[in-house]
């Protein structure tokens, strides 16, 4: 699936999500913020998990945080990922005040035996070979 097909499928199946899958590499990372109570919400849902209101505004966030958890996959779950193994997926807790966690891939150059929960990471936007936008995380000092 190429980037255009990916986006049009997202707009069709998950309209709340689509604006946040923006393919523009230069765009800041943005997440929905509830207009009524101010909570940043991730993943995007039709209503706010805190106050149930349905109005959101897209708000830029700084892609810096800590590794909340991780796993390195050695055996491809399906053939489409066979060319990537081994690869590390991280859940990153963004710094306050957002309190949201984002999934992403750790940049391959970061893979080390010292990989652990709590490491500081910075996210950058990249594209898969098919042009699908991705978040890739790098360990920072």
């Amino acid at each position: 699936m190429n980037a255009e097909e990916h986006m049009s499928r997202a707009q069709l199946l998950a309209p709340e999500l689509a604006p946040h899958l923006d393919g523009s590499d230069a765009a800041p990372l943005a997440v929905p913020r509830c207009v009524a109570c101010g909570t940043h919400q991730w993943p995007p849902r039709p209503s706010c998990a805190v106050c149930r209101s349905t109005e959101f505004v897209s708000t830029p966030v700084d892609p810096v945080g800590t590794i909340y958890s991780w796993t390195t996959t050695h055996r491809a779950p399906t053939p489409e990922f066979a060319h990537l193994v081994p690869y590390t997926i991280v859940v990153v807790a963004l710094d306050e005040p957002h309190r949201i966690r984002l999934l992403g891939r750790l940049a391959p150059t970061n893979e080390a035996p010292s990989l652990r929960v709590g490491l500081r990471v910075q996210g950058t936007r990249e594209r898969s070979a098919e042009g699908v936008p991705l978040l890739v995380w790098n360990i920072i000092a």
Partner: protein, 384 residues
């Protein structure tokens, strides 16, 4: 309120390639369970097939419903097995039938492997657009993420994961029905098994199985049943979901799962506590999920499951003999309904070489997609 009993249980052979249709497998297991109950198909007033595609989780997330809101169809993931027993109980308690069967059949090895079945789970919009692009698509990878955090926070070790796998395999050596009967495992075998998704090696992962399991429940009085003396009481059942049931990543507390809500409810309804449980059948899709559920079911404090299992607690003769049939890891994977069969055999005293002496109360847990959880307590003769 009338009491509800398990009158009969039955299973087909558990194999890698059944060569039979799913309806044929379901028929065999159901007929065996009815025979075990001293009943015939004419006795059956209700059927609860495990399966379906109703995503209660999606509704719960959208409306902010209670974690333990009731639903009548079993959920699509692994929690559906035990929930079929819960749904049958509801039907019987409502008086809509007096005999019901909970039944599951699947050619889970030869036809519909797990990699394809995950597309039947809730929250597909998150799966497809937020997770699949990173290659985070398989249960082994989701739950490895929870295990890794538990290991970081509580010092839970690979040794503890290995002990779960080795215990299940040792129990399977006492169960001729188990797929891994006659195939013992050593620690060296475990350590040599390939890494799937850190910390999970191949032998931390459950089997995939062709087969069927059926459980016949009844509200009939023991005395009016031909085989009623062997009836096993369903003492209590409860099921719940974690917060953010269709998404793991942003759940406030990763260790607070459906079972965290369901277990206290079950103990309260049954009027007993975890210390009264003689044997447990814990949904063991992966080794860490056993540790996680032991904590949330109250068998040990949170963070201490590693030490608990390393004490030998799960082995026959230990403090809480667990998955005495070999579990999903070594007997076979029919969505955990086989855990109910083993619980029934244990409290009936019919577990043969793997019998837990004087087992009167058995606990069974269910676990599905990112932490849906349920628990049932079963009581043998004299336990009401």
């Amino acid at each position: 309120m009338s009491s509800i009993s398990i009158a009969g249980v039955g299973s087909s052979a558990f194999t890698r390639a059944s060569g039979r249709s799913v309806p044929a497998l379901a028929r065999e297991a159901t007929l065996l369970a009815l025979a075990d109950a001293g009943m015939s198909p004419a006795d059956l007033g209700a059927v609860v097939p495990v399966g379906g595609s109703l995503f209660t989780e999606d509704v719960v997330a959208g409306l902010g419903l209670r974690d333990d809101v009731l639903d009548v169809l079993p959920p699509p993931g692994g929690n559906g097995g035990l929930n079929s027993v819960g749904a049958a109980e509801l039907i019987l308690r409502a008086g809509a039938a007096d005999v019901a069967v909970a039944v599951f059949a699947r050619n889970g090895r030869s036809a519909s492997r797990i990699g394809r079945r995950v597309s039947d789970l809730p929250g597909q919009q998150f799966r497809e657009f937020l997770e699949r692009p990173y290659g985070w698509v398989a249960p082994a990878q989701w739950y490895a993420m929870i295990a890794q955090r538990h290991m970081a926070l509580h010092g839970t070790s690979t040794d503890a994961l290995a002990e779960v796998a080795l215990t299940m395999r040792a129990h399977a050596q006492l169960n001729p029905h188990a797929m891994m009967f006659g195939k013992p495992m050593t620690r060296e075998h475990y350590d040599a098994s390939p890494m799937v998704s850190d910390p999970y090696r191949l032998f931390d992962c459950c089997l995939e199985t062709d087969g069927a399991v059926a459980v016949v429940l009844t509200s009939r009085d023991r005395r009016s049943n031909p085989a009623g003396e062997r009836d096993v009481r369903l003492l209590a059942f409860s099921s719940a979901r974690p917060q953010s049931a269709d998404d793991l990543t942003n759940r406030e507390d990763w260790f607070r799962i459906g079972l965290t809500t369901a277990a206290p409810a079950v103990y309260e309804r049954a009027g007993i506590g975890p210390a009264d449980v003689d044997t447990a059948m814990i949904y063991d899709c992966f080794t860490f999920e056993v540790l996680h559920q032991l904590e949330e079911a109250g068998f040990c404090p949170r963070g201490e499951a590693g030490a608990f299992v390393l004490s030998g607690a799960l082995r026959l003769g230990g403090r809480l003999p667990t998955n005495t049939h070999g579990g999903l890891l070594s007997e076979g994977h029919l969505l955990g309904l086989s855990h109910v069969v083993e619980a029934v055999r244990q409290v009936r005293g019919e577990a043969g070489d793997r019998q837990v002496p004087h087992a009167r109360v058995a606990a069974v847990t269910g676990w599905g997609d990112w932490g849906d959880g349920s628990m049932a307590l079963f009581g043998g003769r004299g336990v009401e």
